[in-house]
């Protein structure tokens, strides 16, 4: 897996997913800027995080520019707001020509719009749902889960 070594990556949103990604990418050797509108959110970063923090609303172009988006190799929209993530991914790809941008989208119904907009998206809800179905299918075979009905 490409861990991002040597890349400049902007992670927008420092919640559970954002801080997880920022920590991992930073430890793997990427240059990371994490953006969140709440300064307190940065408390979820681990002590090994070696990147920069920008406090601000990333749907404002000025904040993205402060995070030096024009230099970014990757931008990840990981706020709790699907629409903000999709907007940020589009601004990255289409206004600042960032090579890769990914939006985290919780609502599966929005994935089709991401496709129409030509932005990469990750839908944790659909992923988790599929995993549950796989587990169910596996568990319905006797003995697979090692337990009793």
């Amino acid at each position: 897996m490409d861990t991002g070594q040597g890349l400049f990556i902007i992670v927008v949103g420092c919640g559970r997913l954002g801080s997880y990604l920022a920590d991992k990418l930073s430890v793997a050797g990427a240059g990371v800027v994490v953006v969140d509108c709440e300064e307190r959110a940065f408390e979820s970063l681990s002590s090994e995080f070696g990147g920069f923090k920008v406090e601000g609303d990333a749907t404002e172009s000025a904040v993205l520019q402060q995070a030096r988006i024009e230099k970014a190799d990757v931008v990840i929209g990981a706020t709790h707001d699907d629409n903000a993530n999709m907007m940020i991914a589009q601004i990255a790809r289409k206004i600042f020509q960032v090579p890769r941008a990914i939006a985290r989208v919780q609502e599966p119904r929005r994935v089709a719009l991401c496709r129409a907009l030509a932005i990469d998206s990750v839908c944790p809800t659909a992923r988790a749902g599929d995993l549950v179905f796989q587990t169910l299918a596996a568990a319905s075979q006797p003995g697979q889960d090692g337990g009793q009905p």
Binding site: S61, D82, M86, K94, I95, R110, A116
Partner: protein
């Protein structure tokens, strides 16, 4: 004309009333249940309760039959998604979005929104044009507001009266392009000295606009 408005508050209520009085058909999508009830009691419009950036809700609001979608929620990201969804998945020909961050006006247009308007920019340009003083008139705003042409009448006692243009120290991205003096047009040079009651035709870029006006009139813009 079939219009779909997404948003809430007094703005949506009065917009809807205006559209209805013109004979338009109006559908409102609003994510506050109590407000939906309030609107439904007062307006002859179709009110749909839900998140207007959710494709299912737009389908329920019959967005595919709308001639225009107007997104006026308080969040720029929601307004952008509503317009993009309407245009890409429901083939709505015209989309209009309210933007709060004036920088997003251009961003939204580049991302395919037909019309993006910023209250901040509208109000600030109104103030610059009208409220400030009567001896400043905005003549033209070119290239979508990137270049302003302004007429300024110099008052008696303005700080630049009696001084040569070259000595004013105007910012490099501004230009006094012409002077009307006693109805006579003058193309000024650096040595031209300004007089009271001169009408200056000033070309500015937004970054220096306010500063130039202040330097010439001596008053805060």
């Amino acid at each position: 004309m079939n219009t779909l408005i997404v948003g809430g508050g007094k703005l949506v209520y009065f917009l809807c009333r205006t559209f209805l009085s013109k004979g338009y058909r109006v559908t409102i999508v609003n994510r506050d249940r109590a407000e939906c009830v309030w609107l439904a009691r007062r307006l002859k419009a179709t009110i749909v309760y839900g998140d207007g950036s959710d494709p299912q809700i737009l389908a329920e609001a019959q967005a595919d039959g709308a001639d225009a979608v107007l997104a006026v929620t308080p969040n720029d990201e929601d307004n952008l998604m509503i317009c993009q969804l309407a245009s890409l998945q429901f083939a709505v020909p015209r989309t209009l979005a309210l933007v709060n961050d004036p920088d997003n006006e251009e961003v939204f247009r580049k991302l395919g929104v037909t019309t993006a308007f910023s209250t901040t920019r509208l109000l600030s340009s109104l103030i610059e044009q009208k409220a400030a003083f009567e001896d400043i008139t905005s003549l033209a705003s070119l290239a979508g507001g990137k270049v302003n042409v302004t007429e300024i009448v110099l008052r008696e006692g303005a700080p630049v009266v009696g001084r040569a243009l070259a000595d004013l120290g105007l910012p490099a991205d501004s230009l006094i392009a012409g002077i009307l003096r006693d109805e006579q047009p003058i193309i000024p040079r650096g040595v031209t000295t300004l007089r009271a009651r001169d009408h200056l035709i000033v070309i500015t870029l937004p970054a220096s606009h306010g500063r130039v006006l202040k330097m010439l009139t001596g008053e805060a813009p």
